[in-house]
């Protein structure tokens, strides 16, 4: 590391890994260590008291690899991908809402649905590239992950982060998280965003 410093001034190194932009709270999910226990889903359900059928944090299973081709070495792996709201930089749901019920908070980048305004038309669910917003049939409003905004405002971490058994979830500001990832996994990091970084600029980081 000392040699890097000799070639490159420290602030340039810092600048290269620090994204300059508005503050954005985010999650980092380390897929390599996620064991798919669904504890985050349950913690989220308990914390936000969601009805049956509405889950802010669904964990999906993805099979990666090919085993049918005899020419190649079978390399199979199952990943568990928790899919909370991506708290996008350019939220498609916000643009789709006909009554302006969805806001992206300037102070921390959390995307929230104002339940007083929401008319339950589900246009946000149609627009979201990640299929995240869900309809609460009891309250007739749309709901989605709030990044546990009620906990965050008290200085706590989101419930899913606190409860994660395998310690694969990290919470913080986007820039700090990227720095943390570089520290922990610098040598073999492959930073991913579900759906790519281009479409709506999602903020939840994945490494695998």
């Amino acid at each position: 590391m000392a040699e890097v410093g000799a070639f490159m001034p420290e602030e340039m190194v810092q600048a290269s890994i620090t994204k300059k932009g508005p503050k954005q709270l985010a999650l980092w999910v380390d897929l390599e260590y996620c064991i798919g226990c669904h504890a985050c889903t349950m913690a989220c359900k308990a914390e936000n008291n969601t009805p049956v059928g509405v889950d802010y944090n669904r964990v999906t299973e993805v099979e990666v690899g090919e085993f049918r081709d005899p020419q190649r070495k079978p390399e199979l792996r199952v990943y568990f991908v928790p899919m909370p709201c991506m708290h996008c930089g350019k939220p498609a749901c916000l643009a789709a809402c006909p009554v302006g019920a969805i806001t992206k908070r300037k102070e921390d980048g959390i995307v929230l649905i104002n339940k007083d305004k929401c008319i339950g038309c589900k246009y946000c669910a149609w627009a979201c590239p990640f299929g995240h917003p869900q309809f609460n049939a009891e309250a007739q409003v749309m709901e989605k992950c709030t990044l546990c905004v009620h906990r965050v405002s008290k200085g706590l971490r989101p419930a899913c982060v606190d409860t994660c058994v395998a310690r694969t979830r990290f919470f913080g500001e986007m820039d700090d998280l990227i720095r943390l990832i570089r520290e922990k996994r610098a040598e073999r990091v492959s930073l991913g965003f579900v759906g790519g970084k281009t479409t709506t600029d999602p903020s939840i980081l994945y490494t695998k």
Binding site: G53, T60, V62, V64, G65, E66, R72, Y79, V81, M83, A96, P98, V99, G100, A101, N114, D116, K117, C118, I119, C121, K122, Y123, A125, W126, C128, P129, F130, G131, Q134, F135, A137, S190, G192, F193, V194, G195, G196, Y206, K208
Partner: protein
């Protein structure tokens, strides 16, 4: 601060009727553009009166939904003036503005204040024509307020034709402009002056208290509650009362209780109502019904069916339903038949069987599947997004 005194403002916004309040997608700025003093601002909660309001009422006439309440000379009081005047109806009922220099039966503050009903009511009461005495408005400081006058005249003429009076029953005539605005008979006293000043201060003061609940009678209740409160559009109900009060075309004999009114088709842009069609792309979300300012569209889920029905006589052609429809299923026709204003027959826009989604348990118009189109769409979207995340590991 005594809120009751602020409530004395001459004009208040009836927010639930304002298209801009109901959806930020609406691009309606008619009131703000026509207000002669520029006192109206369009904000997050729709139109707001922020500047010096004279109470001229041009905004009420300009707004298709009539989303303003005038405390002084509103349409009801002007109509009673017209009725008094028409006790022995003149052959031609003349209307002029405060600056027109000619004898007239009715004086309004500005010709931009006129609404269809004010032009048609004299005809109903027996006058053979209504004549607008129009001074050269371009020389008037309130010139912007009459920008919509030609449209109003076109609408009033079509409506006159509809009730069998012919387009020429609404006329306009050029008159000279009076040198000065009409003076009051009584000299201005100190009390008048202070009262005027208080009126001027009320607008800005109310704006600074904008967050305080109770303002305009809209604070305190949530946006959703206000949406569900259906406010009757006074402008529309007065017009309908007037139109239905005209003698029937074929004499209105008891044997023919509802004679067919004249079929008058006008281009949709100058019609006071819209003719809607709905394509099968409708997902039954009910946004059009929720956001329609006058409640002309209703979406009804029953045990077995979904029915989207439309009451044309309540429609004000504000276009909110067309703008907000996500799947672009609702369309407005290019020409509109005005006779649906008089026929109180609701139109069924869409009828579908009801199905319940296996996943989200919400109702959707049946298309043979047991999962609603949205759940299918969400699953596809999610899979596509995950595919992109793992793409680089592929062969």
């Amino acid at each position: 601060m005594d809120a009751a005194r602020l409530e004395e403002r001459p004009v208040v916004v009836d927010a639930p009727l304002c298209s801009r309040f109901r959806t930020p997608r609406s691009a309606c700025v008619t009131c703000a553009e026509l207000c002669p003093t520029g006192a109206i601002r369009i904000a997050d909660r729709g139109a707001e009166i922020v500047g010096t309001c004279h109470g001229c009422g041009v905004c009420f006439a300009a707004c298709p939904n009539g989303a303003f309440r005038i405390s002084g000379k509103n349409d009801q009081t002007v109509l009673s003036t017209i009725r008094d005047r028409c006790a022995s109806p003149p052959a031609t009922f003349r209307i002029r503005c405060a600056r027109g220099d000619a004898p007239a039966d009715l004086v309004v503050p500005c010709l931009g204040r006129l609404t269809e009903v004010l032009l048609l009511e004299p005809l109903r009461l027996g006058a053979s024509a209504t004549e607008i005495l129009e001074p050269p408005c371009e020389a008037c400081p309130s010139a912007r307020a009459v920008a919509e006058l030609p449209n109003l005249l076109r609408r009033a003429r079509s409506l006159a034709e509809l009730v069998g009076r012919g387009r020429e029953a609404v006329r306009e005539q050029r008159v000279p402009l009076r040198g000065h605005p009409e003076r009051r008979e009584r000299p201005v006293t100190r009390r008048d002056f202070l009262r005027a000043m208080r009126g001027q201060a009320a607008g800005p003061a109310a704006t600074s208290l904008a967050e305080a609940p109770g303002r305009d009678g809209t604070g305190g209740s949530s946006f959703r509650d206000l949406l569900e409160q259906r406010r009757e559009s006074v402008k529309r109900s007065l017009l309908l009362d007037c139109l239905r009060g005209f003698p029937k075309r074929d004499g209105g004999t008891p044997e023919v209780p509802s004679p067919s009114p004249a079929t008058v088709a006008v281009p949709a842009r100058e019609a006071p109502l819209a003719e809607l069609t709905v394509t099968p792309r409708c997902t039954g979300c009910g946004v059009c019904a929720t956001l329609c300012p006058t409640g002309a569209i209703t979406a009804n889920w029953t045990e077995r069916d979904f029915v989207l029905s439309f009451r044309p006589w309540d429609c004000t052609n504000c276009q909110v339903c067309v703008i907000v429809c996500g799947p672009r299923a609702i369309r407005a026709r290019g020409t509109v038949r005005l006779d649906s204003l008089l026929r109180a027959q609701a139109v069924s826009l869409l009828q579908a069987r009801r199905a319940t989604c296996r996943l989200c348990r919400d109702a959707f118009p049946a298309d043979g599947a047991d999962i609603c189109p949205l759940c299918t769409h969400q699953q596809k979207r999610q899979a596509a997004a995950l595919h992109l995340l793992f793409k680089e590991r592929g062969p």
